[in-house]
Amino acid sequence: MAVPQVAAPPPATRRVRRSYQGWKFVGPFMIVFALVFLAPIVYAIYLSLYRNRLIGGNAFVGLDNYTQALQDAQFWSGVGRVGLFLVVQVPIMLFLALLVALALDSGRLYGKSFFRVSIFLPYAVPAVVAALMWGFIYGSQFGLVGSINDALGISLPDPLKPSLILASIGNITTWQFVGYNMLIFYSALQVVPKSLYESAAIDGAGQVRIIRSIKLPAIRGALVIATIFSIIGSFQLFNEPAILRNLAPNAITTFFTPNYYAYSLTFSGQQINYSAAIAVVMAVITMIVAYVVQLRGTKDL
């Protein structure tokens, strides 16, 4: 080791002359980020601390809107409804998506690309159009259900009645998002080296064993991601109830889902402040649930 020719500058100086060059590069991003991402959140929180009334005007009320939200039976019934939706619909949808992805990946399916495209196609239909279309199908008077009843002389249960409406909405979202999730799983499966399957086969493993021991562990990350997306999607349920409400106004209330509740509060009652509080509470709930799922999903078995 050579004797150092140049003495190192005193450490103290180095600390003072800190370079800010990096901030100049990230600056433009930070400004856009602050305006587009942070500002709306800050503004929503700001709004949620006030109450603007028809008589008496605007006043700072602190956390009153939050206390009200936490005691609001309508809000919690909406949360309960999307919770039920989440627990029932998401597993069904993801299971179907996984099944299709594994079938496509097995290479034993005839007309693979046809199935891949046709299962993915519903995802390309705009959500509003999809809801309108299913609305026509569900109509027990003038829709497809009505036509089937007439043609066969039977009486199918009305899919738009209060006890079935959530299942009917679940059917629409499943139809729409199976293809999307299938694509996530399928692309994850494509990355798994084929040599693993060959060596497993040489060791005498059957298809079921290969799926359980190689394919599923390999795409676990994709499964977690798809689950988190689906959880967020469930909590944000809005389009389908909003569209179907025109056909089933008594089955879908203005507080059917938390998102729809926030929308109704703002646009029918001008309760913008309370609506902002609902939105913040819902965001926190969604983050907690998604985070818990992520922690559980990525924990080593």
């Binding site: 901030w23 305006l35 503004y43 028809l54 008589i55 005007g57 008594n250 203005t254």
Partner: protein, 445 residues
């Protein structure tokens, strides 16, 4: 980190600036209309002098009115904006008022929503403009609707005196008489549905507008408004009359479970499975465009009565033009209102198919003699004109009717799909509306 803090500070300053725009809801301009009066000469002078007017309205016939108005007053430029129909426009209007920017000079506002804007000090009281002297020009129903809390908050543009539209072909086929009372209507509903299980007397999935209109016709006064003191009570005699008949229609499943304005509804009107529609006189144009299959088969009749032999009617729908309180040129705006709703504009809109609110038109023999092709050449205006004169007086809507109507299906709607009775449903509607009213600073009993 200091640079980051600066960025954050700039961002939060921007947020504060935004909120400052949103929160700046001072009543600085609300004093301008108090006390001083504006004479007709002032309005004429303003029209001669000219200027620019922004009008927010969705009424299609106003387009021709604006053209003629600008011909007559060449110095005035009118900017007619369609900011959405009904609720959508109110949302835009509320936003503009809250922001204190982009508020139009004139806005179209439906009668049921007018008290809400009046109490929010969004509209100019036209009393100081001498609007009260125009009372005799308008039908009592719509005139009553623009009066709120002792002020006149607009001039009536159109109105919706109710009539019963029925499919004559279906009625003839099953030898059903046109019902004179709602009890007969219920009988007709039973007879029709028995004869043809696919046919219904009418559709209803819970409609706040229809419910309040029929209670209005029955003489019910569920809402009383005195400043910020409001009462809501759906147990009065008029409301009970309505509940009795409607509960029977619901319980016996005599109402088609089809929502109004849906495709299924227009199909049903066209193919005879929905036999009657009770609604405002503005309806015929909608029949023609959306249910052409029913042309020639339908007729108009007087609304069935709650008491045999009575002559009561009610309004359903209709709207006024109002001068916005935050508008820049109120004299000019009032000049436009008078032209469109009381002057030359009335005939232009009637020619365009609108249903007027002016008593002069309703007495015009040429207008009364109009033959409606959709109604097999029937002179339906005679029925509408009669209905307009028989509207029960003294009705008022809530100062927060827009909200209240939005929760009708959450509450009263339950009666249509479960074992909840209509009376209980209306009680729930009353409670929910009262809760909102109290939260908004009213005293609701």
């Amino acid at each position: 980190m200091s640079r980051f803090l600066k960025v954050a500070a700039v961002a939060s300053a921007a947020v504060l600036a935004l909120t400052a725009c949103g929160g700046g809801d001072d009543s600085s301009s609300s004093g301008s209309s108090g006390g001083s009066t504006v004479s007709d000469a002032d309005v004429t002078a303003a029209l001669e002098k000219g200027g620019t007017l922004t009008v927010w309205a969705w009424e299609p016939t106003l387009k021709d009115v604006v053209t003629k108005f600008q011909e007559k007053y060449p110095n005035v430029k009118v900017d007619l904006v369609n900011a959405g129909t009904g609720d959508k426009q109110y949302t835009a209007l509320q936003n503009a008022i809250a922001a204190g920017k982009g508020v139009p000079d004139v806005g179209q506002i439906e009668y049921y929503a007018l008290p809400q804007f009046a109490i929010g000090k969004a509209l100019t009281d036209l009393k100081s403009y001498g609007a009260e002297s125009l009372k005799a020009d308008f039908n009592p129903g719509p005139w009553n609707s623009v009066n709120s809390g002792g002020g006149v908050y607009g001039l009536p543009m159109d109105s919706g005196p109710m009539a019963l539209y029925y499919n004559k072909e279906v009625f003839d086929k099953y030898k059903i008489e046109v019902p004179k009372t709602w009890t007969e209507y219920l009988e007709a509903a039973r007879k029709l549905h028995k004869a043809d299980p696919k046919a219904y007397i009418t559709n209803d999935t819970g409609d706040a507008g229809l419910t309040t209109s029929l209670i209005w016709q029955a003489g019910g006064k569920p809402y009383t408004v005195d400043g910020t003191n409001v009462t809501i009570n759906f147990t009065d005699a008029g409301s009970q009359e309505f509940v009795k008949v409607w509960q029977a229609l619901i319980s016996e499943k005599l109402l088609a479970p089809v929502s109004s304005w849906s495709d299924g509804w227009f199909q049903g009107i066209g193919n005879g499975s929905i036999a009657t529609v009770a609604t405002g006189a503005w309806m015929p144009a909608n029949f023609v465009t959306s249910a052409p299959a029913g042309s020639g088969k339908w007729r108009a009749a007087e609304l069935p009565q709650w008491t045999a032999g009575a002559n009561a009617s009610a309004e359903n729908g209709g709207s006024a033009l109002s001068v916005m309180d935050k508008g820049a040129n109120k004299e000019l705006a009032y000049g436009f209102l008078k032209f469109a709703n009381d002057g030359d504009g009335v005939q232009i809109r009637v020619d365009g198919g609108a249903f007027p609110a002016t008593s002069k038109t309703l007495a015009d023999p040429a207008w009364l003699a109009d033959e409606f092709e959709y109604f097999g050449g029937q002179k339906a205006n005679e029925i509408f004109a009669k209905s307009a004169q028989q509207v029960v007086t003294g009705w008022s809507y809530l100062p927060f009717q827009v909200y209240s109507n939005s929760v009708f299906n959450d509450t009263a709607g339950k009666a249509y799909v479960s074992n909840t009775t209509l009376a209980d449903g209306l009680k729930a509607w009353q409670d929910q509306s009262a809760k909102y009213g109290n939260e908004q600073g009213f005293t609701v009993k």
